[in-house]
Amino acid sequence: MRRILIINPITSKEFDNMTKEYLEKIKDPCTQIECVSIKKGPASIETFYDEAFAQPEILKIADRYKDKCDAIVVDCFADPGLYAIRELVNIPVIGPAEASMVVATMLGHKFAVISTMRNSGPWTELQAKAYGLSNRMAAAIGIDIPVLELSIDPKKTAGYIVKAAKEIIQHKGAEVIILGCTGMVSVAEMVKQELDVPLIEPLATALKVAEMMIDLKLRHSKLGLYMAPEKGKIVGY
């Protein structure tokens, strides 16, 4: 039995039920998932400022659960705290953005990421560079709908995503589309129906990659980039 911890790095309750229900359907029968949300911090992550306040809480949750699970998924496309959690724990830690980009790379020459606000375009470009896959990314753009408003009018959200995707496929050489926010789960199926290229939903992808890493008994190397942190150094938390 694999036990996977899903850290929801936002304080908004908006996605809690949806996430759990969705992942229960996607997980392997031999996987148990537990979803835990941060208690203090941003309602959604859309800026570096938001991310900064989410990270300490994410790390505290990871620390608390690290011996009770076999892998951790951080449920946000910004992959907040990804590298820091990897320093802290000895199990696979999967970020939806990294996992989606890696999987997309196997499906076509170039992928595009369609995300929420306009800043997510350049932000995703930086992520692709860090992950070493920027030359496989055709474009990254936002549709100018904030995370917490994505589900207000799902048809409108799906429509904006489809429009952006079609343009990028036609003019920028994208062959695979990645939804650039794990809050887009609710519109993924609608978008998929309208596109004739593979659509990657990052949360499901991160979960399945986590299962795979567990099965392959792989974990992050501690030889270079991810050094075990000196926890005693942190004061006041």
């Binding site: 890696v102 196997m106 499906l107 076509g108 990657i200 795979m212 792989l218 190397s221 501690k222």
Partner: protein, 228 residues
């Protein structure tokens, strides 16, 4: 989800089919059915572009014959022979161990090294990493100078040489993860994993599990650009 998976050994010998099937069935999920077949005509191992060129037509024939009976196909050689061409004629996901192993390794740390069989494979895999766009994550490519067909015969020496290469990669080249650069090394994986404490990506198992992941996620190759 029930998955029918075809493993194509792109070599003109059936000598590895049974052991590969046994090894991969152990890695597979309970609902995966694994069948291993080999090409009839072509090289008995792939170690050069010349070998690869003669392997690909046979691979494509097998893909054509079997594509409607399987949910996904692994072409079981680190050189990923015929993977792109197979994607052109097929709607189910096709994965290559080389591609998969490098991509999974890139999630496990900053840089990985590939340990392969012969010196000639070094530039070959450098080109491969460039084509995939992951060359910045590649610390080095090391070789053990033992041909594919001798790996098992000389298992003791193979392990010794692998250990030397791994030490060179991690101590001198900045590797944080080791990728085994030949699917014929899978029989050594568990012994090796016991000896060293850094992640080792074994490409045959990695490609099988990745294929299962793609099938579960209902993903297959795009036909909007590269794969016509």
């Amino acid at each position: 989800m029930k998955k029918n998976i075809l493993i194509i050994n792109p070599v003109a010998t059936d000598k590895w089919n049974a052991t590969d099937a046994e090894y991969l069935r152990e890695c597979a999920s309970v609902d995966a059915f694994i069948k291993v077949i080999n090409i009839e005509k072509g090289p008995i191992s792939i170690e050069s572009f010349y070998d690869e060129a003669f392997a690909v037509p046979g691979i494509l024939e097998l893909v054509e014959e079997n594509k409607n009976n399987f949910n996904g196909i692994v072409i079981n050689c680190f050189a990923d022979p015929g993977v792109f061409a197979a994607r052109e004629i097929c709607c189910v996901p096709i994965v290559g161990p080389g591609e998969v192993a490098m991509l999974l390794a890139s999630m496990l740390g900053h840089k990985f090294s590939i340990i392969t069989v012969k010196k000639s494979a070094v530039p070959m895999f450098e080109i491969k990493a460039k084509k995939m766009g992951v060359e910045e994550k590649l610390a080095s490519i090391e070789y053990i100078n033992i041909p594919v067909l001798d790996l098992e015969k000389e298992a003791g020496r193979t392990i010794d040489e692998l250990m030397k290469s791994i030490n060179r990669a991690t101590n001198e080249k900045g590797a944080e993860i080791i990728v085994l650069g030949c699917t014929g090394m899978s029989f050594l994986y568990s012994d090796l994993a016991k000896k060293i404490n850094i992640p080792i990506v074994e490409p045959a198992a990695a490609s099988l599990k990745t294929l299962e992941t793609l099938i579960d996620l209902k993903l297959s190759c795009s036909k909007a650009g590269l794969f016509f």
